[in-house]
Symmetry: C2
Subunit: 267 residues, 2 copies
């Protein structure tokens, strides 16, 4: 691994790293960006994605050298001093560690479900537009070894910079794909013999009493609106009992509680 | 309830609302601030704290009128237009809803524990310096009806503005107090016949196998350092099994998973 020193912020080789925040808003169509040591290590060791390049502050190379042994030899590692790196990125990038990776094509949901094992636990997200929550759900899904996540069109991009960061790399580990709508999600899951557990404060069954089927999908809606009523009408609905009158749990926390319960029932 | 119109940002009556962010940094010794409709409703209906005053944008009064029926008649309700309110607060305060409340004295930990019921579930925090995490833990504690939270000196203020907001009002519901150190926390809990469950990725027992004692305290440390080794050496240690090699769970999510399991075992 021979780092390539960048001394000019306008160097065309580091073009994808330019103006990070502005690009976040526009969206990166074929790529996504990873920042910080912990997530970079996930990208290098556990990720499903191809790495295009790294951009590291000069003083970060030594501490990363063992992780960089896993880097394919054709991936360029650019380095810059802090001043040049900040000028490229457009703000002070304290962590001094960035990587650019290629998005993978999102398979049709039927193909996605067909590749999963016969014993599988997955999560479906409907209307989850908050990057913190989606990142937190991917973190929990990775922690409990969920095999996949489905997202409807209203749910946000798991590879958005903030979602990746909050997921602590979980968004790089847990496979996911999009479905056209909540109804399409339900139909595809039913077609692939998944038992659907739709979480709602008004759910009929209590989580602690639920035993998972061989293939189980837990569906979560956004805090506030929750899952659509017509979806709840055609699925098993599950609630987590709470103390009198208090506002419901955060949806990412709900995913952690549900995945923990279902996983520990299974093992 | 007769609102008092404020037209001058320098009006001495709304002095405590001035320069909110700067005061956040300095700290409010005898007061704390609450923002937004959801948390204000908790303050009005479920809180343990005395309210000093409200400051509302003119256009928010109508939607709050039913909640304001619970307001003691001696509490002044100030109103201002957006321009004056923003000038008082020091930034655009979109929600247009603020309240000032009085802190309650923090009792010695022995007195605090003595007031709890014989069947009790509480949480102890060691070195939790992140307001999001402390807010999230109070939210979960309120959701699952935990009877109290102990904090060491390194843990942050649950009544800090951001912690209150993230707790969705849980910080106003769940009683808490401070202890001098993690060791003092352990001694006080043992003295009050609490079974201590210290959470650690290296914990000897698995959460799903744990049955709570009548009085149970779950202890949580900061992500990264975790609980101190000498504390783990003198307590029952509990882990949440995770999928191979992934970074540990967020500490607030851990509190939700643990409280849910212990509560559902009990009921």
């Amino acid at each position: 691994m021979m780092p390539i020193a960048i001394t000019d912020p306008d160097d065309p080789r580091i073009e994808p790293y330019r103006a990070v925040r502005e690009r976040d808003l526009v969206g990166r169509q074929h790529r996504f960006i990873v920042e910080g040591e912990v997530v970079l290590r996930v990208l290098l060791q556990q990720s499903r994605f191809d790495i295009e390049s790294l951009l590291l502050a000069e003083n970060r190379i030594d501490s990363l050298s063992n992780a960089l042994e896993n880097l394919p030899p054709n991936v360029p590692v650019y380095t810059a001093n802090r001043q040049v790196m900040d000028a490229i990125v457009g703000f002070p990038i304290h962590r001094g560690i960035l990587a650019m990776a290629r998005r993978a094509p999102l398979p049709p949901v039927e193909d996605f479900l067909a590749t999963l094992p016969q014993e599988a636990l997955i999560v479906g997200l409907v209307g989850l537009a908050n990057h913190d929550n989606v990142g937190g759900i991917f973190r929990n899904a990775a922690a409990f070894g969920a095999q996949g996540i489905l997202l409807d069109q209203e749910s946000c991009d798991p590879l958005y910079r903030k979602a990746v960061r909050v997921s602590v790399g979980g968004a790089l580990i847990v496979p996911f794909t999009r479905v056209a709508s909540a109804n399409a999600m339900v139909r595809a899951l039913q077609g692939a013999s998944f038992e659907i557990l739709a979480f709602s404060p008004a759910g009929q069954e209590i989580l602690s009493q639920v035993k998972p089927a061989r293939r189980t999908a837990l569906l979560l809606g956004a805090e506030g609106p929750g899952l659509p009523p017509d979806l709840l009408a055609q699925t098993r609905t599950v609630s987590i009992p709470m103390s009198g009158g208090f506002d419901s749990l955060n949806v990412a926390t709900t995913s952690g509680i549900a995945l923990h319960h279902l996983k520990s029932q299974r093992s």
